[in-house]
């Protein structure tokens, strides 16, 4: 059984001899890839593909999470505080990438609801899906095409506080904004399907560790109906849909199921998202992916990682519907030995 078949079995609630394992999106930062691959790290022109293939082969991962790619970003200048380049993305927002951290917004796509109302997303139909096709045609990994929807991307392009306030102050404009972002991402989803994706992952953080950022009733009235339309369109191509959100999303799991979501990823134990518990309540309708705390991989030791992973597999594998992964992705600050230990346990703990 290859990785693709193993993940598809999990989605059908069929328990496999070994639990499927892998990460969403890029999965592993370059720092981790270099540390794990050592001399096998490639520095050539095709290094991104080769290194991501090699680390998955070496760890025994089943999943790859490519994106349809856009044009190169436009360099705008140097950030005066951080000294890093500022660049405009294809959506029109300007960001910078300070060392050792996530991308920071420098200038949003709109400064007022009126500006946002007249904002139009770019044409994404010319984006490049050739890498997606390459993963599908040349490997046995489950190709989990990664894209966004309207909420997480929405606040990344506007700034978090501005976005949150406008959900109340400019409600109609925000609904139109979600529709615009989702329409563009649906085009990317359909391109991914054409390029051979095995499933679509919608990355859309909705919550803190203590609950959703906004009232679940707001999501039900203003956001989930639009998300449901997106999922419905994707599923017309017979593709399963995964949903990633950090944080505690328990209050909206029934809504995500109603939207047609097949699998929920992250399931951070720090956010009370315990997969064995969630499976007991929603396991008939949803596959769960995640549950290994990224911080455990950063600050724990190999024994702790092995014990936690073994216990999780034991409790979560029964009846299928479980994919082992970190609760986000393997970050640069994780210990390579812990990452290897987590994957090795999955390969040892056979049914």
């Amino acid at each position: 059984m290859n990785g693709r078949e193993r993940v598809l079995s999990a989605l059908k609630r069929i328990e496999t001899s070994r639990v499927p394992i892998g990460e969403i999106g890029g999965g592993y930062t370059d720092v981790i890839i270099q540390a794990v691959l050592g001399d096998k790290y490639d520095h050539g022109a095709d290094s991104y593909f080769l290194n991501h293939q090699r680390i998955r082969d070496l760890l025994g991962a089943d999943i790859v999470g490519p994106r349809v790619t856009g044009p190169p970003v436009e360099i705008m200048g140097i950030h005066e505080d951080w000294g890093t380049e500022t660049f405009k993305d294809f959506w029109g927002a300007t960001h910078t990438q300070p060392p050792s951290t996530t991308i920071q917004l420098v200038d949003p796509i709109a400064h007022s609801p009126e500006e946002l109302a007249s904002w139009r997303p770019p044409d994404v139909s010319h984006f490049d899906s050739s890498q997606m096709r390459r993963w599908k045609d040349t490997t046995d990994f489950f190709v989990l095409a990664t894209l966004n929807a309207g909420f997480d991307l929405g606040y990344e392009l506007l700034g978090f506080e501005r976005f949150m306030k406008w959900t109340v102050q400019a409600r109609d404009t925000m609904k139109q904004y979600y529709e615009k972002l989702i329409d563009a991402n649906l085009v990317l989803a359909l391109m991914s399907a054409e390029a051979g994706a095995d499933a679509i992952l919608i990355a859309d953080d909705l919550a803190f560790n203590t609950g959703t950022f906004v009232d679940p009733n707001y999501l039900r009235s203003d956001y989930f109906p639009i998300l449901k339309d997106m999922v419905t369109e994707i599923k017309k191509r017979d593709l399963p849909v995964f949903f990633h959100s950090d944080g505690d999303v328990r209050t909206v799991i029934p809504d995500l199921i109603d939207c047609g979501i097949d699998a929920l990823q992250s399931c951070d134990p720090n956010a009370n998202m315990d997969i064995p518990t969630l499976k007991r309540e929603y396991g008939q309708d949803l596959t769960f992916m995640g549950n290994i705390d990224v911080d455990l991989l950063a600050s724990g030791n190999v024994d702790e990682v092995e014990r936690t992973t073994r216990d999780l597999i034991h409790d979560a594998r029964i009846g299928g519907g479980f994919i082992l992964s970190t609760s986000n992705v393997v970050a640069s600050y994780c210990q390579p030995e812990n990452v290897k230990a987590m994957y090795a346990v999955a390969h040892r703990e056979l049914k």
Binding site: T101, Q104, T212, S332, Y333
Partner: protein, 198 residues
Amino acid sequence: MWPSISIAINQLLNEGMNSQQILDEQLLSGMAIVGERFKRNEMFLPQVLMSAEAMQTAIDILKPHLAGDSEARQQQTVIIGTVKGDMHDIGKNLVRIMLIGAGYEVIDLGVNVPAQRFLDAAIKHKAAVVCLSALLSSTMNNMKEIVQAFRINSDLKETKILIGGAPLSREFSQSIGADGYAPTAPAAVEQVQSYCEE
């Protein structure tokens, strides 16, 4: 931005209520309800943000009156920032917003803040409390350096240091000599309030 607040406060002042009473009975009591409801997931981030913005507007209107009121309490200052090497700010911003809502003067140093900037700001603003945020295991250890710098500075020995962020714990806070750890934004406000009442 909030014209109705200006009208309401001026009306209360004209009715003879003093500025401290308005702050305590009209504003802080309202924000306490916001904090409680947020903690119980009955109120959410957008509403907390807007409440805090309204509160800040009200405080700005009241400031000249508070300065002229001999019975008014001095507003205490809290310094907040994400430690060096770490650019995460959602949690830190939420704490800032809720502290403003609780009536504190908050100096936000932003993200990637080196130890010396925390010290300089604490001295300059005579801060009662310094709140340190970190989201990464790799940057949380930078907090130790900051705490040590405060502890050896004779002007800052009394300054309380509160830490918060996903990878942290009460045990970690104790191990680096901080005064406390707050797992959530409402808990951070409660901790700051307890320090300021000591």
